[in-house]
């Protein structure tokens, strides 16, 4: 009869070949879809990319946005890395059991401090897994809803078993004086202590059994990897390495396929986008932040990624796809629910970006004319009159009429600053007074500025995000042509949406002027002493970060500095900075019909948040759409008298004690 050690070597070899074979085959199947994807523009900026690996893979920085789960994951990740050496040891000692019975890894196998580290990680990983089990089974947060629960639990059990069996194997070896590094393994020693009373033969049997379970579960886990969310262990590294380094506010151009604009079939996505489908870990952090999901709309950024993954798998395995991408896999109502607020993509630890996916599918729908009646009307207005209000372009500068001295026409004379006023600030009845105040503040600061008068058109940020690429292009061409004829140095905008597209997307049209949001300009004027306030306002206020100013363009501090310079005390809402909760207007949502599913409008949730803070009288915004949404929400939520919504410029104007004729109280 063959000795046990020889049998062991052969069995380990067979198990290895089988499991790696299955793993390889499953990876191949899973990633088959990727081969059907479209090409991806070349990846540059390798320094930045490698840095990303260190910051986001090694240091796991984004994961800590959810503290406890982040710490647990950190230990599991690093435990996995450190203990992969013990796995290697287990495999090799099995393979060499017959020829080299006391095999240890050369060099590192005899290194005490490493052994200590590994031993401590066994404990840390086990504790992290217990925490994760508690999270999944007892806390069970909303964000896990819809994720594959049994798969998640199975993998947690796998890891726990791997840790336990490793500790048992090590512990018994210590008991049997079989371990040169035993004084470096306190945790294993403790576990071994449980078996110390048994006779050595029994202990050896237990040790051998633990060894087999250990190796078996490791290899089983390997074969399971490509099957679900844990595939991210493999895909996250290329995903983070090859993440999008373009400015967030710059959407990729619309893909076109023989007269079709946008994406209709899953294979029309780029392979890099498809990689994200497989990388999603179903952690639901994105969903937790999503205003559309919170308001009850049929969109979960997590479930969207999961359905895209499932659809791509079906698509690449079936010879004839039977389910459509838009309609079966993803409902149009899901696509239309997104406000493009970027909260999801900001949160995702793996840098998964779904806004470009959503917009590409919207582009297809728009090009096929599948838009709701209100959106259709708005797009027609934008096409015909260049504004979403359906008013004549001749009325665009009507708000300027009472202003003295007359605002310069940048088309006729050179100016330092070209003020791109924007639709809402120009046409909306609620805002024209505020726009006049902005002009007065600029005049007070002796700013040399002018506007485009009726040559200005909607800048197209939200038109682009709605998916009407052709209309965006045509408006961008018109605006660029008008601006090209002017002499100016810097563009100022009132609207963060306008700001975003002028800054990030117009350079494609050759406009390379600096762009400032008016809050950045105010901040500069205050710093340079050109704007000084006679009056300290002394209000206690809170500030809402507009998505396209904060998350998209990283402008968090300038408006806050202005608020403080006004002598106001700024108290932050729970959701602030890059976690600010979208007002629900972006991405063209403000032009669409409201869905019946909506439980609580995002804007109402937001004003409740502000009103719920003690002592706060004013919610300050720096986006015309926010102001309109929030003032409306204050009424519908019945919060009148509890909170006032003001644009920052109103406070600035008040602190400057500017003339009151055009200043009417807006509440």
């Amino acid at each position: 009869m063959m000795p046990y050690d020889a049998v062991k070597s052969i069995l380990v070899l067979i198990a290895l070949l089988a499991s790696f074979g299955v793993f390889g085959w499953r990876c191949y199947l899973a990633l088959q879809g990727l081969r059907r994807g479209q090409s991806t523009p070349a990846f540059g900026g390798w320094g930045e990319r490698i840095k990303g690996l260190i910051v986001y893979v090694a240091a796991q920085l984004r994961l800590f946005r959810f503290k406890a789960p982040g710490i647990a994951h950190f230990f599991v990740f690093w435990g996995f890395l450190t203990l992969s050496l013990t796995i290697l040891q287990a495999i090799l000692e099995g393979l060499l059991a017959y020829t080299n019975p006391h095999f240890v890894l050369p060099l590192i196998g005899n290194f005490g401090p490493l052994a200590l580290l590994q031993d401590l990680f066994i404990l840390c990983v086990a504790l992290a897994i217990l925490y994760d089990l508690y999270l999944r089974l007892i806390v069970n947060p909303e964000r896990y809803k819809g994720s594959h629960k049994s798969q998640g639990l199975m993998v947690l059990m796998f890891i726990f078993t791997i840790m336990l069996t490793l500790a048992v194997t090590n512990g018994i070896r210590i008991n049997l004086n079989d371990d040169l590094l035993q004084r470096y393994r306190p945790v294993s020693t403790l576990i071994g202590g449980l078996f110390a009373g048994l006779n050595p033969a029994t202990q050896t049997i237990i040790e051998e059994t633990a060894y087999w379970i250990h190796l078996g579960v490791v290899l089983l886990f390997l074969t399971e990897l490509p099957e679900g969310k844990h595939f991210h262990i493999v895909t996250s590294i290329p995903a983070i390495l090859l993440r999008n380094l373009e400015p967030r506010g710059r959407l990729p151009a619309a893909p076109e396929f023989e007269g079709q604009v946008g994406v209709k079939q899953v294979e029309q996505f780029r392979w890099r986008q498809m990689l994200d489908f497989y990388t999603c870990t179903e952690c639901g952090r994105c969903q937790d932040m999503c205003p559309a999901f919170a308001s009850g709309e049929p969109l979960s950024p997590k479930l969207l990624m999961m359905s895209l993954r499932d659809h791509l798998k079906d698509y690449s395995s079936a010879s004839l796809p039977t389910r459509s991408l838009i309609g079966d896999a993803v409902a149009p109502s899901t696509l239309w629910a997104c406000t493009t607020c970027y909260a999801c993509d900001q949160e995702c630890p793996l840098f998964i970006e779904r806004i470009p996916l959503i917009v590409d599918m919207r582009r297809y729908l728009v090009n096929e004319g599948e838009v709701d009646a209100l959106l259709q009307k708005t797009l027609a207005n934008l096409g015909r009159y260049g504004n979403s209000f359906g008013q004549s372009e001749r009325m665009r500068a009507k708000w300027t009429q009472p202003i003295q001295p007359v605002i310069k026409d940048a088309r006729k004379e050179a100016v330092e600053y070209l003020w791109f006023v924007g639709d809402y600030a120009s046409y909306h009845v609620m805002f024209s007074d505020i726009t006049r105040k902005t002009a007065q503040v600029f005049q007070k600061a002796d700013l040399d500025f002018g506007i485009l008068y009726d040559a200005e058109r909607n800048a197209g940020n939200d038109i682009r995000r709605v998916g009407e690429e052709g209309l965006f292009e045509s408006l961008a061409e018109k605006n660029s042509a008008a601006m090209d004829k002017c002499k100016y140095n810097t563009i100022i905008t009132t609207d963060p949406h306008t700001y975003n597209t002028l800054k990030n997307e117009y350079p494609a049209n050759g406009n390379h002027h600096a762009v400032l949001h008016y809050t950045e300009l105010l901040d500069q004027l205050i710093a340079s002493g050109k704007l000084q306030f006679n009056k300290k306002l002394g209000y206690k206020v809170t500030y809402h970060d507009p998505c396209y100013l904060g998350r998209y363009n990283g402008i968090y501090d300038a408006p806050r500095r202005v608020i403080r310079a006004l002598g106001c005390e700024l108290i932050e809402m729970p959701r602030h900075g890059d976690r600010a909760f979208c007002c629900g207007a972006g991405g063209g949502k403000i032009w669409m019909e409201e869905q019946p599913e909506v439980k609580e409008r995002p804007a109402e949730s937001r004003v409740r948040e502000a009103a719920g803070m003690s002592g706060i009288s004013t919610l300050v915004t720096t986006c015309p759409k926010d102001l309109v949404m929030f003032r409306d929400a204050v009424k519908t939520a019945g919060l009148e008298g509890k909170i006032v919504v003001k644009d920052l410029i109103e406070l600035v104007s008040e602190a400057l004690e500017l003339c009151k004729e055009t200043v009417r109280e807006q509440m």
């Binding site: 728009v366 359906g390 008013q391 009407e468 209309l471």
Partner: protein, 254 residues
Amino acid sequence: MNIVALFKLVPDLVEELEIDGNGTALNMDFLRLIINEFDDHAIEQAILLKERGGAQVSILGPDIEGVEDVLYTAASKGADRLIKLTGDFQGKANNHAMARAVTSALKELQPDLILTGVQANTDLDGSLGPLLAEYLDMPYVGYVSGVKVADGKVITRKEYPGGLVAEMEIKLPAVLGIQAAEQPPRYIAVAKVRQAMKTATIEVRTLAESDLSGGSTIRRMFKPEAGTRAEMIEGSAEEVTTRLLDIFKEIGVL
């Protein structure tokens, strides 16, 4: 089946209207033109009929500013022939003149069905449909909001006030005045219109000298003048009714 949809461009009411120096017409300098809304529905209905049962759809419109946009948009919807009509459409042209002038262009197309909007805000001398029907010697039904084609005939759906609906069968060829297409006109993305601009061709037909006879003569055009101010009647329902009755008696309707 040959379907022809005929459209007019009318003043866009987004702009303020001004009366010209003579006081008999609109000042065209400041006007912007837009497709007559009902004509837009007529085009949509023509396309719907084509999609449903197959047809050759020709779109005809006067060659004035904005005509190409309408034609290319119609092409992106699926129209087969685009024709612009050159002639005198400014100033004095009326529907009588227009109907007479387009007759020969229409005959040449040998239409089975002519669709046009049931009315337009520039119809000072009656709507275009019945006039066309007269000059072409075809039957006419107006205020149509649904069309079905059945060998050599169409069945039209026409809504009457008070919720009555009539279905009428008409022999072809015929002229229909469309009140509403069965579906609202669809959205055409700008990229599609741009594509049509590259691929579609617009034919040109020159119309005969306009003959204005039969139309109305405008003596004076003016903006509504403020009358005596309205009287707001306040009080309880009873007081209001009593006051109303008094007023009715005063002006002699009771």
